[in-house]
């Protein structure tokens, strides 16, 4: 999985929204699918206009999230979120300013709570897991 720095650099070459969407779709296609057994109510992220599931895993005090959606652009955004949040510990996750990162990517519209596309709910849920892990 590309680092977020690589993604920011790649996005910086893309000027039009069409190119950004095409790249998000490409990322979405390369995101590994979530095992069907995790696509349950327990792991469902609510507040999304597509179906989104988020599964936290913890190894050596670091979080490794797996997530999936039935919408391809959302899968692309999940790819970006995973490259930001994966392999981070609780305090690192708490300090991530995701809005700033999405602004750098030119994707800030996708994080607005009013868009209700689930990305806001998803980042909230990631933070929730991080804050409640002891």
């Amino acid at each position: 999985m590309e680092s977020i720095e690589t993604l920011i650099e790649n996005f910086s070459f893309l000027e039009s929204w069409e190119d950004k969407y095409q790249y998000l779709i490409d990322l979405g296609e390369s995101l590994p699918s979530l095992d069907e057994k995790f696509k349950t109510e327990t792991f469902r992220v609510s507040g999304c206009q597509s179906q989104v599931w988020l599964v936290p895993e913890i190894k050596d005090n670091k979080f490794y999230f797996k997530a999936d959606s039935d919408a391809i652009i959302v899968r692309g955004i999940i790819f970006v979120l995973m490259s930001v949040y994966n392999a981070k510990d609780t305090s690192e996750i708490k300090n991530i300013e995701i809005e700033k990162i999405f602004a750098k990517l030119g994707l800030e519209e996708h994080l607005s709570p009013s868009r209700r596309n689930g990305m806001f709910s998803m980042t909230q849920k990631i933070r929730y897991y991080a804050e409640h892990y002891k």
């Binding site: 069409e18 969407y21 779709i25 206009q49 597509s50 179906q51 039935d70 959302v74």
Partner: protein, 404 residues
């Protein structure tokens, strides 16, 4: 038929440029844009004739009270109710239906009774009956519709029996566009002694409603879908039923006599309008109704039917485009699937092209699931929609196809 370009000039939202994008508004079934005369009326009240209604004895309070009560008469005439006292102002159709559920149903239903609704109801006409069923022990029954979204008389008749005390049904589905034959439904329901509530949220915008001809017991609609303001809705109920119903909420203006120990209530409709009502919005709604009537339902229907035909024609030319709900003479809400592209993905692209559609479960999750989807797209038209809106919609779809 009217010239739609003239009509669009009445709606300021279409004359102002929305950034660089065009504004192709195909979400009127969610909420309609407002004509200038409605916006002006609201401003006029706030600027020239504002005071609380039903309270002051001074000139301005009396004038605004009379406007509020005149608005009630406009609505009475609009739906052809016998009396203005059968018109209760609410926040929206959802509150109107909740009012019937809380006040009428909780006091008139008990174990062994049944409430009958269709598979095509949105949450506003479903969830409150689930709660009524839980609280009273009554059973909520749901009659099936056909796979193409059409009404199935046999299924309805099968569920109808003397245990049914209330039939609550939409006059037009907000997802499928199906127009339900409510007059026949009402007649059949009355034969078994059931009362009937008509959810007219969608239908009220497209066709003339006549509550005396229909003989419905309750009818609910929202102002904002009818080109009026938000925050105002209407509940019509036959006066004998309404006056037997206990208050829904309590407070000022709904009382007859109050002591610290005991209160007697005002007759309807005041009994159901506790506290300061949304009177500016009610006056705005009356203005919206006057506007709609000035165009006339015949012309509005002719315009919308021509849009539906044009849409269907364009849709048939586009491979992979499937309309969900194909009842003949359906209303101007077009739920669709396009090449199985996820509605959210499609909406992202359409939004960038300036095309506004609705996606999701449309506050009718069981219906969307019943049609075989978890989420669907919907394009809907209003009296101001143009053929070039539809062209823009289909060319945005063509563009979306390149992505997915």
């Amino acid at each position: 038929m009217y010239n739609v370009d003239d009509i669009r000039a009445d709606f300021p939202v279409f004359s102002k440029k929305q950034g660089k994008k065009p504004f192709v508004y195909l979400d009127t079934a969610a909420s309609a844009q407002k004509p200038q005369c409605v916006i002006d009326k609201i401003c006029e009240i706030y600027q020239t004739t504002y005071a609380n209604v039903h309270r002051g004895l001074y000139d301005m309070a009396e004038r605004v009270t009379s406007y509020y009560e005149e608005a009630r008469i406009v609505i009475q005439n609009f739906i052809h109710a016998k009396s203005a006292s059968e018109i209760v102002f609410t926040r929206n159709a959802t509150e109107s239906i909740n009012l019937v559920a809380s006040s009428w149903a909780l006091n008139n239903l008990s174990l062994n009774d049944e409430v009958l609704i269709s598979e095509a109801e949105h949450h506003a006409n479903l969830v409150c009956w689930q709660i009524v069923a839980q609280k009273t022990g009554a059973k909520l029954k749901i009659f099936k519709i056909n796979d193409d979204g059409t009404y199935n008389e046999e299924e309805f008749e099968k569920c109808l029996n003397p245990k049914v005390k209330l039939v609550a049904v939409t006059a037009m589905s907000n997802v499928l566009g199906t127009v339900f034959p409510v007059k026949e439904i009402i007649r059949a329901a009355h034969l078994v002694g059931a009362k009937v509530l008509i959810d007219a949220c969608q239908s009220i915008v497209h066709q003339k409603a006549d509550v005396q001809d229909l003989d419905c017991d309750f009818l609910a609609f929202s102002g904002h879908k009818l080109y009026g303001p938000t925050g105002i809705g209407v509940l019509y109920a036959k006066s004998d039923i309404l006056n037997d119903m206990p208050p829904y909420q309590t407070g000022g203006d709904m009382v007859d006599k109050v002591t610290y120990q005991k209160t007697t209530y005002a007759p309807a409709p005041a009994r159901f309008e506790a506290g300061t009502p949304a009177f500016v919005q009610a006056i705005g709604l009356a203005q919206a109704i006057k506007y709609v009537l000035s165009l006339g339902f015949d012309d509005i229907q002719a315009h919308e039917s021509s849009l539906i035909s044009y849409f269907n024609e364009q849709a048939s030319l586009l491979k992979g485009f499937k309309i969900i709900g194909t009842a003949p003479d359906k209303g101007s809400v077009m739920a669709f699937d396009f090449c199985s592209i996820h509605p959210q993905d499609l909406a992202f692209v359409l939004s960038h092209e300036g095309v506004a559609i609705r996606i999701g479960h449309h506050c009718a999750e069981p219906l969307v699931n019943r049609m075989g989807y978890s989420s669907i797209c919907r394009a809907s038209f209003g009296l101001y929609t143009t053929k070039s809106d539809i062209d823009a919609f289909f060319s945005a779809l063509q563009k979306a196809k390149h992505f997915f």
